[in-house]
């Protein structure tokens, strides 16, 4: 408890009097004020919806979350002598200053200059050759979730692929298995920092013959940014940029089927979640089964958990989707579906 000083007493004494004197406050009109530069003329939210001021420079960042939603990298496809499909990918790790929130430049580490890294997509049983070139000044790796030999694990101590030095490169080679929605990330010590700085991405393995066709497939990678390096996230988002899909709602039509590949790579916080408004969805944990495990409107994922969400909207309207850790939502992990007839 704070010790009272003479001044504290004076304050308290004075306040009694102020109360006795009936000190009233009168609200005054809000003075007109200049808007910050670089401000975006998107919908002027009435009331008190949280949100950032302005818009990040997507062109300068080199990626746009709206495009990341549907940007699948199937690699360079060829057929091996035995008939197996070969997919070759090139990924380069680079340091890049990214405007993660309007006005705030974060010294990120990226795969291919974007956060999340490219969504690598293939089919169960394909031979994958992923070449990581390290264009940064730190050692990095790509550690994939899925079946593969130890030397392909991208973890220090597992051979040359376990630490790709600056200027070096390594080709990870393995067969895609099991089908589902997975992820990859850097696995260099200190791991939390290497992940939090932006070295992660979605890795989708389709079942042979594919999943049932839908009208829309989206990738959503949930993460956050600790911009002041205190090991606590300051901002949260899907596909890196906070409030992006609130400012730029995802257009849908009534009745259209939607499949979301949802991945959580959030560092520092224990849990993340996804909640869909005015709707329910089928949930396929890790996407490793064709049969949904749950019919719900909220799922929870710890770091590296992921799953597939399938739904369609019955009615037109603007519908939120967001982390139901409300704090995360109000710090950026929130978005909108704009459903029309």
């Amino acid at each position: 408890m704070k010790q009272l000083s003479r001044r504290d007493f004076l304050r308290t004494g004075g306040l009694v009097l102020a109360g006795a004197a009936g000190v009233a406050a009168v609200s005054k009109p809000v003075s007109p004020s200049s808007h910050p530069p670089h401000q975006h003329d998107q919908m002027d939210h009435p009331g008190d919806l949280p949100g950032t001021v302005g818009e990040v420079d997507h062109a300068k960042n080199g990626f746009d979350p709206t495009q990341i939603l549907t940007d699948f990298d199937y690699g360079k496809v060829s057929t091996l002598p035995g008939g197996q499909i070969l997919r070759e990918y090139e990924v380069i790790s680079i340091n890049k200053d990214i405007e993660v929130v309007p006005g705030i430049i974060y010294p990120a580490w990226t795969y291919n200059g974007r956060i999340p890294g490219p969504t690598l997509r293939c089919t169960e049983g394909d031979r994958l050759r992923i070449t990581l070139k390290n264009g940064s000044n730190h050692p990095h790796t790509m550690h994939f979730h899925g079946f593969h030999p130890g030397a392909m694990d991208g973890v220090p101590g597992s051979g040359p692929g376990g630490s790709v030095e600056p200027g070096g490169s390594f080709t990870y080679q393995f067969d895609a298995d099991p089908f589902g929605v997975h992820l990859y990330h850097c696995h260099i010590f200190p791991l939390a920092r290497h992940i939090a700085k932006g070295l992660y991405g979605a890795f989708i393995i389709d079942p042979k013959g594919g999943r049932p066709p839908v009208d829309h497939e989206f990738v959503m990678v949930m993460s956050g940014f600790d911009v002041d390096f205190d090991d606590e996230n300051d901002f949260y988002a899907v596909n890196a940029i906070p409030f992006h899909y609130q400012n730029h709602p995802i257009p849908l039509k009534v009745g259209e089927s939607v499949r979301i590949y949802l991945v959580n790579i959030l560092e520092f916080d224990l849990l993340n979640s996804f909640h869909l408004h005015a709707n329910f969805f089928q949930y396929f944990p890790t996407g490793t089964s064709m049969t949904p495990a749950e019919f719900t409107d909220t799922v929870m994922q710890t770091q590296a958990q992921r799953g597939i969400i399938e739904f369609s909207y019955r009615y037109p309207g603007m519908y939120m989707f967001h982390a139901h850790n409300t704090e995360f939502a109000e710090l950026g992990w929130t978005g909108m579906f704009d459903v029309t007839e």
Partner: protein, 395 residues
């Protein structure tokens, strides 16, 4: 060193050049340093930024932050988070604030009465600056009723106690010479106590000031120069009049100025505290406060007990001693400034110290005329204990 050159008082061209040589050399060194860096690598890994929230104003559905860039270079406000929610803001005059520049940030936020808020301002370099609102309530506006409210506060804590003390004048006039000297010593004791309190408060507020304002240095400037200025004024008056009674009256006047400055500091603190919602504890404390400050009035009249100052003079001294509490409450309540607070408190410290010095000179004269070995000791002790004991009641 036997040969002594008689210095010439004439200001020759040669003297001028000799004066200018170091300055020209200095300019050269600075130019060299700016162009080469002087061999030092002075580029910091991260920019050094400092943003001071000088004041916040809560209005219905909105929060206004008055911020000053107290860092070494300009900074740009990027985003603002209140209690784990990113909020939209507007800022005047610009998101980029120059060094020592000032800006007002406006937030539309549905704050709730009596709840606590933490606001984080992120600059473009991802450096967070936090301001805490411990208890949210509408900041008083300078309306007629709040003005009157702060006036009442000042009246109760400053004017009324000082005048109550002065009302002892007729009774104390009946006392003998020795008792009067004792009272003077008691006044000195009171003032030493108040002076320490004022200095402590000045140091405390100085600690809250952004380092660029050099609070401790300001206390030195304010206190030392005030002491010397009052000393000079007092010497000048002695030279002009030489009359003992006039001199005692002027000391009484200076005591009231010193106490007035002390009360100005108290008013500032009260007003500022009201502004940020420090909670009231009870009327008992106010009563205790009045009792304690009565002694201030007593101190003012002690030097002139043997004279016949007019009622007008006494009233004037009462107003000078107590009135500043009202002014302080206004300033603290409507435009609190830690910078001004430190300055006033420093001036108060210097003034009180000088007045103690003057009283000591008066007492010395009295003691020379008549022996009273323990009057000073017991008087000063009584004065200090008086404040200490009444202080016990109110803490």
């Amino acid at each position: 060193m036997t040969k002594i050159n008689k210095p010439s008082n004439r200001f020759s061209l040669r003297t001028l050049i000799l004066f200018l040589v170091p300055i020209i050399l200095l300019a050269g060194v600075i130019a060299l340093f700016l162009s080469t860096g002087g061999g030092l690598n002075l580029t910091p890994a991260a920019p050094v930024e400092e943003l001071t929230v000088e004041r916040y104003v809560l209005d219905r559905g909105s929060i206004e932050l008055h911020v000053r860039n107290t860092g070494p270079q300009e900074l740009t406000v990027a985003q603002i988070v209140i209690n784990s929610a990113v909020v939209r803001y507007t800022i005047e005059p610009s998101t980029t604030i120059p060094r020592l520049g000032y800006a007002e940030i406006h937030l539309n936020y549905p704050w709730t009465y009596a709840e606590a808020y933490t606001i984080t301002i992120f600059t473009s370099n991802s450096i967070p600056f936090e301001v805490e609102i411990p208890v949210a309530f509408e900041t008083p506006d300078p309306s007629a009723s709040t003005f009157w409210g702060f006036t009442l506060i000042g009246l109760f804590v400053g004017v009324i106690p000082v005048f109550l003390g002065i009302f002892w004048f007729p009774a104390l006039r009946q006392l003998g010479r020795q008792a009067m000297t004792f009272l003077m010593a008691a006044t000195a004791g009171l003032l030493v106590f108040l002076g320490l309190d004022t200095l402590a408060e000045a140091l405390e507020v100085a600690g809250e000031l952004p380092s660029v304002f050099q609070g401790i240095g300001m206390i030195g400037i304010g206190a030392v120069t005030t002491f010397l200025l009052l000393d000079a004024i007092s010497r000048q008056q002695t030279q002009v009049t030489g009359d003992e009674a006039t001199r005692r009256l002027s000391i009484a006047m200076m005591i009231s100025i010193g106490i007035g400055l002390h009360n100005l500091g108290e008013g500032l603190a009260i007003g500022a505290a009201y502004n940020i919602g420090e909670i009231a504890l009870g009327t008992f404390l106010v009563v205790g406060f009045i009792i304690q400050n009565i002694t201030e009035g007593l101190g003012i009249i002690a030097p002139v007990l043997r004279d016949r100052p007019g009622i007008g003079k006494l009233a004037l001294m009462g107003i000078i001693g107590g009135g500043p509490a009202i002014i302080g409450a206004w300033i603290g309540g409507f435009s609190p400034s830690p910078f001004l607070a430190v300055l006033f408190l420093a001036i108060g410290t210097g003034a009180i110290a000088e007045v103690v010095y003057e009283i000591a000179k008066l007492i010395k004269k009295d003691i020379e005329k008549q022996s009273m070995p323990y009057a000073v000791f017991s008087g000063v002790l009584t004065g200090m204990l008086l404040l200490w004991v009444t202080g016990l009641m109110i803490k």
